[in-house]
Amino acid sequence: MFRFLARRSLGAIVILILISAITFFLFFALPAEPARLACGKNCDPTSLAMINKNLGLDQPVPVQYWKFMVGIFAGRDFAVGHCDAPCFGYSFVSQEPVWGTIVDRFPTTLSLALGGAAVFLVCGIGIGMIAAWRRGTWIDKFFSSLSLLGASMQIYFVGVLALAWFVSGLGIMDQPAYYPFTDNPAKWFSGMLLPWVVLSLIFMANYSRMTRSQMVEQLQEDHVRTARAKGLSSRTVFFRYAWRGAIAPIITIFGIDLGSLLGGAMVTEYTFTLHGIGRLAVESVQLTDLPMLMGVMLVSSAAIVVFNILVDAAYAFIDPRVRLA
């Protein structure tokens, strides 16, 4: 197991380095001139040269990349000040260290992702199991149609409707906003509730449909039939035998979903005016803010890669057949 984790972690580092290099060099292939962006309308050559120097843009691209990578581990000195490790550089736009902004935005994304995941996982799997349990009945049909409806919805549509009805119309829900959990857990909860519910509506559909089909499949497996034949209660058969078999692929998908959510749920963040990692990514693309973009990309990729490793480990743990060599 340890060897497996070590190998996967090394692979992950290689992937992250590749992603960083591709982003970096692609960015400089763009026709945009970053210093020109930071320089206002009264820009003259002296001002431009100064900004280029301040941001380190006067050096060759490979040198800039090398300094960027070194800065992540050892910190960096800029003309505008020192940037502590992990230093992802100074934002071209805000002229502040990128890492500080990411650290400021990450709790919003974390709250959104974990809370949303909790809701869609519990509800999605629950509904899927009920549907499988009552397969063929009206309950099954009702939930199947409901998931189909949910799966075909879009956050920017459901979100806007939910805001108009529950917040502006009926006034029964608070305006979505992020408040730090440590300051006021109740406010944190009420501020995130609507985004969680809307985000889960979309994801829940996938999970309930997947759980149902997995459960139905498992319930027809030989070991389940054997368990039934042995006279075990249907509850034991359902939860201990079928469920355990069904959950493995769900966990795989969940790991990928959670990783992507931690990399920023852009549409949800825009719909509810939340300032998370996703929004930061979009804004930095719009403003051609390379250091910010690099920071966000690496954090998001790291989230996805790490969760994939965790999933693989969990998978191996749950299902003894999948012991990776």
Binding site: V93, D104, L163, H275, Q286, T288
Partner: protein
């Protein structure tokens, strides 16, 4: 003056905010009327030019008169779409930031808006009055008020005003207005040579240019009469910065407050708070109040979002407002039907004028330019942006907020023919022998502009042009059209006067000196007679004569040279929560004035 827009390659470009129908939530503009057609429901601004008066020393003496029913305390939530990028008053030049700085930054002079009539008056802010001129308008003397302090309790002296001016010469200062520097030390970027490092290496401007004979007096010397100095020193960058605490680039994150509020918790891209500055003495300030404890500003609110929240008026949003977000074009008709919400709204004309520039390098034949001007469907075009609540059809190149504006001036009868006069245009094209003339019309790829491009294309084709539409990425739009060697014939832009005189419109937009990349002279007009006339009017020392001369010149330019088609004069239609009182309109910046706001 620029109105805020995020633009990738020139982060803040000159444009009207409608330009960016940003985000997934923005819906297309109302194409069928967009509301505002019922005169009972709409509270249209009066079509009269703003006659800004120069206040006396008594008008400049604080405190400001208390508003009836005003209470102290509470937090106001401010919903803004675009993030503030600059806090350093030297670097501020877009509408959102211009209005925001009025809370913490005081300048030599400033505008006072009457609580009832909304009329603007220029008064002394840091200075005791609007300035004393001598030597035929070549010398201007300002005396600072007694009792002025920064948020840290240190006194504001004439050396601080000198610092504020001289730092504008340093290379890192690239965003703010340049009127005063250029008048003092030379046109274009030439002024920077007078003090290449700013005041940071112990050097100062010679006393023959900027003198501070004592702690309270600031004297500016110009090489020619400058009638508009009182307005130029009302711009945010002509205030006070303490030399010992001027942190250059870093000052942009934490400037020292001289006004009733100071900055707290600035999170770029996310939000900012303004809290009470206890060192501010109301007796020194005839403009601002300090009713509210905190202004809690958050960014990223699309117009649909701010409109929904302020219209719904639920919970904390009752104490909510916005300074520059307008009612989204898609929601105008709903809001107009909501009488209660309309009682918490204002519709005012802004100083911004939308025009479609004609690239005179490419279209040299004036007859063709004239045909375009006749054919352009300004009224239909405006409908795409929200109709009468978003603006009024423009006849000339300067708008109703400027002194001397003539509402009857409409040489291409844009008001009579909202869809354009195709017949007249056809005749002109025929006369010129340029039938089926091919035009390249460039526009940003925002929803509203895409809708508008269809209307424009149809109208021009009706008039006998062949139109090739070129869609440009919204974020690089201003960089693309700002290139002198661009390959387009027609493209829109917006410009607002920096103060209510066309002297801040005609020279930057139509002087041949300003034909260079990223310049506001988008039509690349460079006509010797126009250039000479601009130079002549600039020397007129009598303010009211100069004002009317500028208007006349702008009319002459449009009629004789047709460098652009005026489309509409922008309006701000906005809402606030039911718990908010003291809302006024800052007609100079075209935004909601926060300085007298209180919570009921």
């Amino acid at each position: 003056m620029n109105i805020e827009e995020r633009s990738k390659n020139s982060r803040r470009a000159r444009t009207y905010a409608v330009a960016l129908a940003a985000g997934a939530l923005a819906l297309a503009g109302c194409s069928s009327g967009g509301g505002g057609s019922d005169p009972k429901d709409s509270n249209e601004p009066k079509m009269e030019s703003q006659d800004i008066t120069l206040g006396t020393a008594a008008d400049s003496t604080g405190p400001a008169k208390d508003l009836a029913g005003a209470k102290k305390g509470g937090t106001v939530t401010v919903l803004q779409r675009d993030a503030f990028e600059h806090l350093d008053p030297g670097q501020i030049y877009v509408s959102d930031e211009l209005i925001m700085q009025t809370l913490y930054n005081r300048t030599l002079t400033n505008y006072q808006f009457d609580d009832k009539t909304g009329k603007a008056k220029l008064v002394g802010d840091l200075a005791t009055d609007t300035g004393k001129s001598s030597d035929g308008g070549r010398t201007w003397t300002y005396t600072l008020k007694a009792g002025l302090k920064y948020e840290d309790g240190s006194p504001i002296t004439s050396k601080d005003v000198r610092q504020a001016v001289e730092r504008l010469y340093a290379p890192y200062q690239t965003n703010g207005p340049t009127y005063l520097q250029q008048w003092l030390s030379g046109e274009g970027q030439k002024y920077r040579k007078a003090l290449p490092d700013g005041p940071y290496k112990g050097k100062h401007l010679p006393k023959s240019v900027l003198d501070t004979p004592d702690d309270k007096t600031v004297v500016f010397h110009f090489d020619q009469p400058r009638a508009e100095v009182p307005f130029a020193v009302a711009m945010p960058n002509i205030g006070a910065v303490p030399p010992g605490k001027d942190t250059k680039e870093k000052y942009d994150k934490a400037p020292l407050a001289s006004g009733p509020y100071k900055i707290r918790n600035f999170k770029p891209g996310k939000g900012i708070q303004f809290v009470k500055n206890d060192q501010w003495d109301p007796k020194t300030d005839s403009i601002r109040h300090q009713y509210v404890n905190t202004f809690d500003v958050s960014f990223g609110h699309q117009w649909v979002d701010s409109t929904r929240r302020l219209q719904a008026d639920k919970g904390a949003d009752r104490n909510g407002m916005t300074w520059t977000n307008v009612v989204d074009p898609s929601q105008i008709s709903t809001v107009l039907k909501d009488k209660e919400a309309m009682s918490r709204s204002l519709t005012e004309t802004q100083p911004y004028v939308d025009v479609v520039s004609i690239n005179t390098d490419r279209i040299k034949d004036k007859k063709v330019r004239e045909a375009i001007a006749w054919a352009f469907p300004s009224g239909q075009y405006l409908q795409q942006f929200g109709g009468p609540k978003a603006g009024e059809i423009g006849g000339g190149l300067v708008g109703p907020t400027l002194k001397g504006y003539d509402p009857s001036f409409d040489p291409f009868q844009k008001k009579k023919y909202p869809g354009g006069n195709a017949k007249k245009a056809r005749e002109l094209l025929k006369e010129a022998g340029k039938e089926n003339y091919e035009l390249v019309y460039a526009y940003g790829n925002g929803d509203t502009h895409q809708d508008a491009s269809v209307v424009v294309e149809r109208a021009l084709e009706r008039a006998g042009f062949k139109v090739e539409k070129k869609e440009i990425d919204q974020s690089t739009y201003y960089t693309q059209i700002g290139k002198v060697k661009n390959k387009y014939d027609l493209y829109r832009s917006s410009w607002g006067a920096d103060w209510p005189s066309a002297s801040t419109v005609v020279p930057p937009l139509y002087d041949g000196k300003n034909v260079y990349d990223d310049s506001a002279n988008y039509s690349h007009l460079n006509v010797p007679s126009v250039n000479a006339e601009i130079g002549k009017v600039a020397k007129v020392s009598d303010l009211s004569r100069a004002t009317s001369e500028w208007i006349k010149l702008s009319e002459k330019i449009l009629s004789d040279e047709i460098p652009a088609v005026p489309t509409f004069y922008n309006r701000l239609f906005t809402l606030w929560g039911s718990g908010i009182g003291g809302v006024k309109f800052n007609s100079v910046y075209g935004a909601v004035d926060p300085t007298a706001v209180f919570i009921k």
